[in-house]
Amino acid sequence: MSTGPTGTDSAELSTDQPAAPSPAPNTRTAAPATGSGSTGSTGATGSGPSGAAPGAVQADVAPTAGGNAEIPAGAEGLRLSRISKILGGRTIVDTLDLTVAKGELVCLLGPSGCGKTTTLRMIGGFLQPDKGRLTINGKDFTFAKPEHRPTAMVFQNYALWPHMTVAKNIGFGLKVRKLSAAAIREKVDWALDLLSLTHHRDSMPARISGGEQQRVALARALVLEPEVLLMDEPLSNLDAKLRVSVRETIREIQQRLGITTVFVTHDQEEALSIADRVAVMNNGKIEQLDVPAELYRLPRTSFVAGFVGSMNTLDVAPRDGGVPLADGTVLPCERMSGDAGDAVWIRPEDLVIEPEGAPGSTRAVVLRVIPRGHYREVLLQCHGTTLRSFTDTEPEAEQAVGVRATDALVYADGVLVQQ
């Protein structure tokens, strides 16, 4: 059978494809794999969110409730309780709850204006919440000034002080804390070494590359040994290739040091690659907080489904174990999340292309084939509806094929219908 990525076993793998259509498909699986090595150092127990492998994460933490398993009181690094923020008469953050375990990396993911940066700035102390409570390792920091918080921020534009050398930038916070010159030197050397910046010790920030500036900003934050590390879209000013390598560096160091981290991004690929858990935000609320694999497999709202990965969005009610296409023909689906709803959404990799007339398939005509490296993106005309499929097969344009769906998500009023 020359089918594409099908079945539940390969579903794990196939999650990579829409998220990382680049020639580096293993980045996502690589991140949790390194996590297994540092489970001990993060202090997370077996039930911690930074479990061994993606499968184990699901099994240990969230067999039913996704990534929202209760975090034991002692393992809790950061907690936001019913936080609200109103700016200019608009509710930017709306009674938001979020708990981050010690050593965990949580991504706040969402479109611009969803409140993710405002949330981060409230954690850092640059904004004060209008309502709610914020604790770090059990202590209340809701209204503390930034300089009195055990947090360190990596700013989107790095915010390096242009009049200080790299070493001075990194050492500034230690100098403020009145450490001895020798102690400052030692810690700065450690940070420089950690981020491979030793050769730039005496460079001015303007003289080094964007990626290096980014690493200096990270070193400057890490040297303060924060209890919570905050990152505000730290990779958005880097080019695509660098973005991948820097984010791997960030993840590797975060796990090695076991720092509780909140990472803000609008890039779903980045969030899925780097995070232990991802919080998808919309209109100031968290729509879904989950481990990346679950978030991708079972998006609990159509907003999350549309924001994470690609989707065939068929806004019709399911019928006869499938989804009716434009001319009324039913495209059969092997597994549907539910049988009553107003929309059926299918991941492109769950749309299998087979020879024309294969049992259980529906006839379709190939419109376009877009090579994506190790897989192909195929646009199909299927009984009046245009469908998108990610496949290993090599159909040609205008060829008639058979198509069937393995998994489909059914939504009613934008909420996932589950049986």
Binding site: G124, G125, F126, K145, P146, E147, T151, A152, M153, F155, Q156, N157, A159, L160, W161, P162, H163, F172, G173, V176, R177, R220, A221, L224
Partner: protein, 302 residues
């Protein structure tokens, strides 16, 4: 100025992307090449005129200061001499006026900085009702005829018994520097990116530490430019000083009036050159700032 900038070939200043590079190295048609050439020539001509316009009078001054005899149609003096320098330097009151000028200019600049820099910070970094009115209001003081302003100041000084005192001269010189001393540093304070300050707070620095380590440090180019311009303005101030010091306290610029009336042109030229020396020295000392683009930075006003 447009001609000058158009005359500069738009070479690949930043060749980050292949696209830009390819665009710039493509073959030019003969017509395009001719037009670029024409702009270059026009630009060079405009630059030459500008240089002559600025430097010409200074050259005349320099020549006059060393000339013995120089009659109208001649391009250069017939004979040269150092006598005028000797004459000027032999007059104790002239030498004394030089030191006095320096002294007053330094004091006036320092007092101006003490008054204006906090105001500049407030105008640059905080939002308060009437902020723009204050900024424009400061500017408007320059719109009035200076002489009228000084006359009323003189009246006021007579009433307050300040006439003919050092304080009066400092006040009068200071008044002329306020716009410079507020606007330029205000722009410099305003242009410090907020994230730099947030990063400092994040690293544990309190508001004061953040101000001295980051805000002030970042605003230094703008403040330096303002200080230099203020000092030069004070050093050069004649009208007001002339009016409030009927007898004593002659500074160099007010001395010029006497010189122009009572001495030959050459002595005045010597004195004028002496007057420019501090300015030139100062500008040489800070040329790093000027060439480094900090001067232009200091003028960014939003």
């Amino acid at each position: 100025m447009t001609t000058v900038s158009a005359g500069i070939p738009s070479g690949p200043a930043t060749v980050d992307t292949d696209g830009e590079l390819a665009d710039d190295t493509r073959q030019l048609t003969p017509a395009e090449r001719r037009r670029r050439m024409l702009w270059k020539v026009l630009g060079a001509l405009a630059s030459a005129v500008l240089v002559l316009f600025i430097v010409g009078p200074l050259i005349w001054l320099a020549l006059a200061a060393f000339s013995d005899q120089w009659t109208a149609p001649r391009l250069l003096p017939q004979s040269w001499t150092l006598d005028w320098w000797k004459t000027v330097l032999d007059q104790p009151e002239l030498v004394e006026s030089f030191w006095r000028s320096l002294q007053f200019a330094l004091i006036a600049t320092a007092v101006s900085a003490a008054i204006c820099l906090p105001a500049a910070y407030a105008l640059g970094r905080t939002k308060f009702p009437g902020r723009r009115v204050v900024l424009i209001g400061l500017f408007a003081t320059n719109a009035f005829p200076k002489m009228g302003l000084y006359t009323s100041i003189a009246t006021l000084f007579y009433a307050m018994n300040l006439m003919n005192t050092g304080t009066a001269i400092v006040i009068v010189q200071l008044l002329g520097t306020i716009v410079t001393m507020v606007w330029i540093p205000a722009a410099a304070f305003a242009s410090v990116p907020p994230s730099l300050l947030e990063a400092a707070r994040d690293a544990g620095a309190g508001p004061l530490r953040t101000f001295f380590s980051i805000t002030l440090r970042q605003a230094i180019p703008g403040i330096a430019v303002a200080l230099i311009l203020a000092f030069l303005a004070c050093f050069d101030e004649a009208q007001g000083t002339y009016l409030v010091k009927p007898g004593s306290y002659s500074t160099m610029p007010t001395m010029m009036y006497t010189l122009v009336e009572n001495y030959p042109a050459q002595a005045a030229a010597v004195f004028a050159i002496a007057l420019t020396i501090p300015s030139v020295l100062l500008l040489l000392a800070v040329r790093k700032y000027i060439l480094g683009g900090h001067l232009a930075e200091g003028f960014q006003i939003k």
